[in-house]
């Protein structure tokens, strides 16, 4: 099971360590540092490393490495999932997961780690259970605590841990009862030079924010559940009912949670909301090249495309860009060679265009690699897969809650090759 955890920052300092069994010296991290050096980019460090006596499994989140040390045969996915859960919990407690925040709350983090794992076995990883035992810091509470001498460690038994619905505590009370669901879809796509879809899929997620009194039992049904053939649910969802009736029936956790993830694969036709006409070329003679990009709407289902942004990682030889944009602004970062064109709203009447010349380093050969275009966009009130929630029913409680569903489509890893 998980033996130890080291938190390592961007510059390679270990700033927190936690051991769940015997103490393992920091020198074990040297193997990791070696791999880190070799990988050049921090994202490229292999997640599973073997050392003579230990295995190092790490994740990279928020410019921090969460490095766990294990000694026996343990499912690596279990470790990676757990590490992400640690990062999620820190984010949940303190609003972000960064070195500064962890250092500011080091004792709470330490207490959390102690509660999350016992002898390497996960103990309490549900955020509501943890919050019952260790209250997240708020300004008000720390003031009150200082004045009264109270602590932010709960002294009740975490009820949720024992019930059959470990994700929900009992005795929840709200004056305003509300349940909101966000259907968020990300399009992952690769388009080739000519604009043909090489590969496209939709990663969907339903985020819920449920503040309901008591023990409500919810049923969420869809207009077109057939779309969903590849789903993964929060543990609260009753799988049997999904299989037989294609409805989501569940007792929700309290607060914010991810109800389900789904995946609409490339087999089904995935609508691509924009098209990109581009040409980036470098001349054989002379240190320059040309760039011309136009973006237009394709399948937007009548909605407006917003937050449009194009990011291009230019070849190393490109020194500067002299371009004009008909809409939005562009920046070219000389150090990282990243060209960002922030367009904003897409106006179908007047298509945005970016055009101009690139200067390359004199004397170097024409760059061989073609830069890819990364597109960012947002479409409000649309789930591009066509998924629609038809109704939400509540059983088990008498009051009438406020209900709401929002849809949002975003670009995930949306790439255009040149």
């Amino acid at each position: 099971m998980i033996h130890s955890l080291f938190l390592i920052n961007h510059t390679g300092d270990i700033f927190l360590e936690k051991h769940w069994k015997s103490v393992i010296g920091r020198s074990v991290c040297d193997y990791f540092f070696e791999a880190r050096e070799k990988a050049v980019e921090p994202e490229n460090v292999p997640p599973v490393l073997q050392t003579p006596h230990h295995y190092l499994i790490s994740i990279y989140r928020g410019k921090l490495f969460f490095l766990s040390v294990i000694q026996t045969e343990v499912p690596p996915l279990f470790v990676i999932e757990f590490l992400h859960r640690v990062a999620d919990t820190i984010q949940d407690y303190f609003g972000e997961c960064s070195e500064g925040v962890i250092k500011d709350n080091v004792v709470t983090v330490y207490e959390l780690l102690e509660e999350m794992l016992d002898n390497g076995f996960p103990l309490a990883t549900e955020s509501n259970v943890l919050k019952e035992m260790i209250r997240p810091p708020t300004i008000l509470r720390s003031v009150v605590n200082t004045l009264t001498g109270a602590s932010n460690v709960g002294d009740t038994l975490p009820t949720g841990q024992l019930s059959n619905v470990p994700w929900r505590r009992v005795g929840v009370k709200y004056t305003n009862n509300e349940a909101y669901f966000d259907v968020i879809e990300e399009i992952d796509a690769i388009l080739d030079k000519s604009g043909t879809t090489v590969f496209a899929e939709i990663q969907g997620v339903i985020e819920a924010c449920v503040r309901l009194t008591g023990m409500p039992d919810l049923t969420l049904s869809f207009m077109n559940p057939r779309l969903l053939d590849d789903v993964s649910f929060h543990p609260c969802v009753r799988f049997k009912r999904w299989e037989s009736e294609r409805v989501l029936s569940f007792i929700p956790p309290d607060g914010n949670f991810t109800l389900m993830n789904y995946h609409v694969s490339s087999q089904n036709l995935v609508a691509i909301p924009v098209y990109v006409k581009q040409s980036i070329s470098f001349f054989e003679t002379g240190p320059c090249g040309r760039l011309d990009i136009t973006i237009g709407p394709k399948q937007t289902m009548g909605k407006t495309v917003e937050g449009l942004m194009v990011t291009i990682h230019m070849p190393k030889a490109v020194l500067s860009a002299n371009l004009t944009a008909t809409q939005g602004t562009y920046t070219y970062d000389l150090a990282t060679k990243v060209l960002v064109w922030d367009i904003g709203k897409l106006n179908p009447q007047k298509l945005p265009n970016l055009k101009g010349s690139l200067t390359t380093q004199a004397g170097t050969p024409k760059p061989e690699d073609n830069p890819s275009l990364n597109i960012d966009l947002k479409i409000q009130q649309l789930a591009i897969s066509g998924l629609k929630v038809s109704r939400l029913d509540m059983y088990g409680e008498k009051y009438k809650p406020f209900k709401g569903v929002k849809y949002l489509t975003k670009a995930g890893k949306f790439q255009v090759r040149t």
């Binding site: 001498g149 993964s232 543990p235």
Partner: protein, 1002 residues
């Protein structure tokens, strides 16, 4: 309002001061002093702040152990937070101050009685984390209570605590009976307790590989499946991993487990999903393929695997490594999902490389166009490693999908035109492989390749190019010039290039003898006189002699037709793959190595196997599913020509070993020398260079010293002498096409006698299988056992191991109430039922008993390996004796390996594991020996006759899944056999050899 805002501002300032960063001040001597004072303060609040400061220092690795007594003093408190903080401190430092830690014991013991279950659990949990022997003694009583606590939260915490305690003091846990209590918890009413008990037992079992702690039977499985639905996600992982170790009784049980596990595939936690995939992949093996459910299950497996690929990159990586295995075992699952493996440019490099691997595995005629377009795209990316791999992938596609070869070649040519140095080099390396696969098809591109000769600076690319020039010397006008240009810097080249250059020039000479005589002499003298490399020297001499004695033979040898290379050379060897499938989701599956290869500790040789299929079908592709009857009737496949076997061996050898394969090992025995020469030497001799020259060790083989001490002038050896020189390796001789050396006329051995013996034996004890069984011997003399004499033997009858005993009562009184028990033994032999002695045995009476044995008992390695310690009880006393069983009892009926698998396995097992034995005075011919051995489940897979010597390649499988491969050499007229045994567990070799001798001589 304004006032409120001001206040808020103040609060915020106050709040920011409240963060823990204030604890980070340097811990100088003075500070420790200050902390000490604060810890002993009367004010609760001050105390708590001080403890917090101490903990903060501790978490960043500062040494605050000097404060131990002061912190422990704070433990007696009602404040839960303070208590927890002190506990945290204790866990960290108790080890360094064991005597001080004792001070805390009383508080722990008291807390274990607290009315609040949270405190009880916390106390028992913390106590387990204090790794001090003295404390553990005090822990036992509280732990025992907590294991039976009324509150499940305490019980589940206590379950984990048993695992902790076991880690510190295993003996104590066993003595105190905690393991049994833990086993009882598997039947607990609370699913969380069940999950933790399973997790704890699994961890303990890991350090006790054979203890049989998790005794899985249908009842416990049912309990686990019930708990599976209700416990936490982590608990589900533990339970699923535990389920995967179970072997269902039949396909119906298998199906019902699969049905109950399938819902886990939709879990949000990817570790749960992968563990569920493991269970399904394993149990699927047992389902008949024509079952509807089988198809449904296959369909259900694809979406969750695809979903894993949209997770964080670290998860993707582990998922991809596992998918790589799954795709090899069951390509049909993901055959339509090619596109999800397309590489995104911002994937981390480790994800990119894995995706590429899987793309090639999934490549087929249907999707090859897409794949190629993608690969071409990748070849223009920035990352050098990735680009190289992409180029190689194009080559692999060409070899895998014949229809695409042409397109692949033209893609590669396009890439060569880019003139990017490393792309060109990779392209040339793969084009060479394409030539090998499709001879006389794409040679038109050679001209383009030659243009790039100068830009090649990597040994592999240079070697590939040289091979191409040598191989197609007749079509390249200036081949001699090209090769000559390489020759100038001969000594600066790497060995790989030198060897290749030598071979290429010899080929050139054989093709165009007139113009190149000078060149060949130059290279031969460079290789034989000026080189320190024994490989190069040896090869130089061989060519030299060949050329000087018989150029025609030389031509036949050097320019012999090469076998085509196989398309799936990088596949994981099937037995290893089967084992890895059982380890999906574990580190083993990430490394693609069996756990025994890298997990420290005592798992030993406990290899997991896939269960056999219950239905029809599959027997062709998996070695362990062939039915016993089918195997025993099938005649041993006789390899018709030597070239064929040679081809097979070469086939397996043509690409460099994949990362999962072991490196070429030094050769030990004579036969291995031959294998080695076949694998590396001969095959490179014949013009293939993709095998890295394997052997500086080859100097160890008997023939090389002779060779290398010859004078450099071309000696006048006759072909037979050369054959004789290499006599140790008959296959080599065959490869040279030299006539077999005359052998003394073979005398037919006295077969009838042997057969009679066999018949005799079969008749007297009525053995249907004709398996060898030793005669009964006295195991327990009457003197030692108060008048009870036991003699007996072991036999394998119709697949069941039996212990056959004669119990004789030589005492004066009647004997009754017989019972038998075995000590743990190497192969887990255990009585499958009680000893059936129904009637009392009177004085001077004897009774025959046959006791069927199972092999699922507890395992412990014995010395000698086949030793069995037995206890027999009767109404008088308990008696102990030990006996040794012939290991042939353990050869199972499905021990016949497929030829390909055999070859692969033989090569895969390191040579260190090979053992060679002589069997003297055996007068059987090879066929009689083969059929005799077959009776005892030793299966002959292939037979080869070289120079009057029969070589039988045989395989057998032990009940615990260990394969033993054998090569039996029988020379007509020579009563001495040689048997070479190879096995991953070399300790069994001696026993197997003894059995061979016993089986053959009976």
């Amino acid at each position: 309002m304004q006032e409120w805002a001001n206040q808020l501002c103040e609060n915020r300032q106050f709040g920011s001061k409240m963060t823990d960063s204030k604890y980070f001040t340097t811990t100088k001597k003075g500070e420790i002093f200050e902390l000490k004072a604060e810890l002993n303060s009367d004010k609760k609040e001050k105390k708590k702040e001080a403890v917090k400061k101490v903990i903060a220092s501790m978490t960043v690795g500062k040494d605050v152990s000097a404060l131990f007594p002061d912190v422990v003093n704070c433990m007696q408190t009602d404040n839960l937070e303070l208590k927890k903080l002190v506990y945290l401190y204790l866990m960290n430092y108790a080890k360094s101050q064991p005597d001080m830690a004792i001070m805390a014991v009383n508080t722990f013991v008291k807390d274990c009685e607290d009315p609040n279950p949270l405190i009880r659990a916390l106390a028992v949990r913390t106590m387990g984390c204090i790794r001090v022997d003295k404390i553990t003694e005090y822990l036992c009583e509280p732990l025992r209570k907590c294991l039976k606590d009324e509150d499940p939260y305490v019980r589940k915490t206590a379950a984990v605590c048993v695992a902790k305690l076991h880690d510190i003091n295993a003996q104590l846990v066993e003595d105190q009976g905690f393991l049994d209590t833990l086993k009882d918890l598997i039947s607990d009413s609370n699913p969380m307790v069940v999950a933790n008990a399973v997790a704890a037992l699994s961890e303990i079992a890991e350090s006790h590989p054979n203890s049989n702690l998790l005794d899985l039977n249908p009842q416990t499985i049912n309990k686990l499946l019930t708990a599976l639905n209700e416990c936490t996600e982590w608990g589900q992982i533990f339970i699923l991993d535990c389920l995967a170790n179970y072997t269902p009784r039949d396909d119906r049980e298998s199906q019902s487990i699969c049905e109950r596990v399938t819902p886990r595939l939709s879990h949000a936690n990817s570790a749960v999903v992968l563990s569920a995939v493991k269970v399904l992949m394993k149990f699927m093996e047992m389902l008949p393929k024509d079952l509807d459910y089988y198809g449904t299950l296959l369909k259900k497996l694809a979406p969750p695997l695809v979903t894993l690929l949209s997770a964080e990159p670290e998860l993707q990586y582990v998922a991809l490594r596992n998918i790589n295995l799954i795709v090899q075992r069951r390509p049909e699952i993901l055959k339509h999902e090619m596109k999800v493996f397309f590489v995104k440019y911002n994937d981390p490099i480790y994800v990119k490389l894995e995706k590429l691997d899987i793309m090639i595995r999934l490549a087929s005629q249907a999707n090859i166009a897409q794949v190629l377009a993608e690969l071409k795209e990748y070849a223009t990316e920035v990352d050098v490693d990735f680009v190289r791999k992409a180029v190689r992938a194009i080559g692999r596609c060409a070899i895998k999908v014949e229809q695409s070869a042409e397109r692949c070649v033209s893609t590669l040519l396009d890439l060569i035109q880019t003139k990017v140095n490393y792309v060109v080099q990779e392209a040339i390396v793969v084009i060479k492989d394409i030539f090998r696969k499709y001879p006389n098809k794409y040679e038109s591109v050679i001209a383009t390749l030659c243009e790039n000769l100068d830009s090649l600076d990597e040994p592999e690319a240079r070697a590939a190019m040289i091979w191409i020039v040598g191989e197609y010397a007749e079509r390249i006008d200036n081949a001699d010039e090209l090769l000559e240009s390489f020759l100038e810097g001969f000594h600066d080249e790497s060995t790989q290039v030198q060897l290749q250059l030598l071979t290429a020039i010899v080929k050139l000479f054989l093709k165009k003898p007139t113009e190149t005589q000078e060149l060949v002499q130059q290279v031969l003298s460079l290789a034989t006189q000026d080189s320190d490399n024994p490989d190069l020297r040896d090869r130089g001499y061989i060519y030299w002699r060949l050329l000087s004695t018989d150029p025609v033979a030389a031509k036949e040898v050097v320019l012999a037709e090469k076998p085509l290379i196989s398309e799936e050379t990088d596949l994981i060897e099937p037995t290893l793959l089967e084992e890895l499938i059982c380890h999906i989701g574990t580190l083993a599956s990430v490394y693609h190595k069996p756990p025994s290869a890298f997990v420290e500790g005592s798992r030993g040789v406990q290899h997991k196997r896939l269960p056999g299929s219950a239905g029809s079908g599959e027997s062709a592709d998996s070695p362990d599913t062939g039915s016993a009857a089918g195997v025993s009737e099938a005649p041993p496949a006789v390899i018709p020509s030597q070239g064929d076997l040679l081809g097979d061996l070469l086939n397996l050898d043509l690409t460099p070993p994949t990362t999962s394969g072991p490196p070429p090992a030094p050769s030990s025995g004579m036969q291995m020398g031959a294998m080695d020469l076949l694998g590396g030497g001969l095959d490179s001799l014949m013009g293939d260079e993709s095998e890295p020259p394997p052997v500086p060790q080859r100097t160890d083989t008997p023939q090389s010293p002779q060779l290398s001490h010859q004078s450099p002038s071309p000696p006048d050896y006759s072909p037979t002498e050369l054959g004789g020189d290499l006599g140790g390796s008959p296959a080599m001789g065959a490869g040279f096409g030299a006539p077999p050396t005359a052998m003394p006329a073979s005398f037919p051995p006295p077969v009838s006698g042997g057969l009679d013996d066999l018949f005799d034996l079969g008749g007297s004890v009525g053995m249907p299988m004709g398996a060898y069984s030793p005669p009964k011997s006295i195991w327990l003399p009457a003197m030692k056992a108060k008048g009870l004499e036991i003699s007996g033997t072991f036999a394998r009858r119709a697949g069941v191991i039996q212990m056959e005993m004669t119990l004789t009562n030589k005492a004066m009184s009647i004997m009754t109430d017989f019972a038998i028990q075995f000590n743990r033994n190497s192969f887990g032999l255990a009585p499958a039922g009680p000893l059936q002695v129904l009637t009392p045995v009177g004085p001077n009476q004897s009774i025959e008993v046959a006791l069927p044995l199972s092999t699922v008992g507890p395992v412990m390695k014995m010395e000698p390996l086949t030793n069995l310690q037995v206890a027999v009880k009767n109404n008088i006393d308990v008696f102990y004796f030990s006996s040794q069983y012939p290991i042939s009892m353990l050869f199972v009926e499905d021990g016949k390996m497929e030829r390909q698998v055999f070859l692969a396995t033989w090569k895969d097992i390191p040579n260190d594991n090979e053992a060679q034995f002589q069997i003297k005075d055996c007068h059987l011919n090879s066929d009689a020996a083969s059929s005799k051995l077959q009776g005892s489940n030793v299966f002959t897979i292939a037979k080869r006759t070289v120079e009057g010597q029969d070589m039988l390649y045989q395989s057998m499988k032990l009940t615990n899944g260990i394969w033993v491969l054998a090569e039996l050499r029988v020379q007509a007229g020579n009563p001495n056999y040689t048997v070479s045994l190879k096995c991953r567990a070399p300790e069994v070799s001696q026993c197997v050899f003894q059995s061979y001798e016993a089986m053959l001589k009976n």
